[in-house]
């Protein structure tokens, strides 16, 4: 049973376009959603996160939109740059076990110049 789903599996955009990465979840106790960015050969790095009490979180070119009713969220990357090419993971934390994150399978983003 996959608790966190991501789509698309891979995404290609041109430099300057907005990339939209989608995430949905099933567990209604999930209340914190971090997004991680992973480059080849490296560990995931925390990019941006949102708590379930908010519907939007912005940090520079990265914005999370959160819809609690539909259990969906999305990561928007505006003015995409070739350096943004990486795999992006949506994760979720609930109240069942402190600290434990459930990860989606990731979206591989390719930005062409």
């Amino acid at each position: 049973q996959q608790q966190v789903r991501q789509s698309p599996q891979s995404l290609t955009v041109w430099e300057g376009e907005t990339a939209i990465l989608n995430c949905s979840y099933e567990d209604s106790t999930f209340n914190y959603f971090p997004w991680y960015q992973q480059f080849p050969g490296e560990g995931p790095a925390l990019l941006i996160s949102i708590r379930s009490v908010s519907d939007k979180k912005e940090d520079g070119r990265f914005t999370i939109f959160f819809n609690k009713r539909e259990k969906k969220l999305s990561l928007h990357i505006t003015d995409s740059q070739p350096g943004d090419s990486a795999t992006y993971f949506c994760a979720a934390r609930g109240t069942q076990v402190v600290g434990q994150l459930t990860f989606g399978r990731g979206t591989r983003l390719q930005v062409y110049a």
Partner: protein, 114 residues
């Protein structure tokens, strides 16, 4: 800037051997984790440990065990490796007070079992 350190970067071994991977964090965090990332990049929690409590994912085979000397170190031992253990093993730690949500990852150890 890497603050979670893992060694070795790569390890190749034969089925049935024992391996051990090291992890150290210099962030002053109180909780550390081990994740397994498979060939399709799926990340799965294996263990979390904070000096007081070890939480084991029930799907983790018993041949895996965490070993901690202090809160800055959490090593991973695999007693008798199997081919399906080939993966990248990622160590992470979390900041006190965030409920473990802000996790910082090391670069990973890639294990290949022949």
């Amino acid at each position: 800037e890497t603050a979670v350190f893992q060694t070795p970067n790569y390890h190749v071994t034969q089925v049935g051997n024992e391996v051990s991977f090291n992890c150290k964090q210099t962030l002053g965090h109180d909780t550390m984790y081990w994740y397994k990332q498979d060939s399709k990049k799926l990340l799965k929690i294996m263990f979390s440990y904070n000096n007081k409590q070890l939480i084991v994912n029930e799907t983790v085979p018993r041949r895996f065990s965490p070993q901690s000397s202090d809160k800055a170190h959490l090593n991973l031992r695999i007693k008798s490796v199997e081919p399906e253990d080939s993966a990248v093993y990622l160590c992470a730690s979390s900041y006190p007070g965030t409920g473990g949500s802000e996790q910082y990852f090391g670069p990973g150890t890639r294990l290949t079992v022949l």
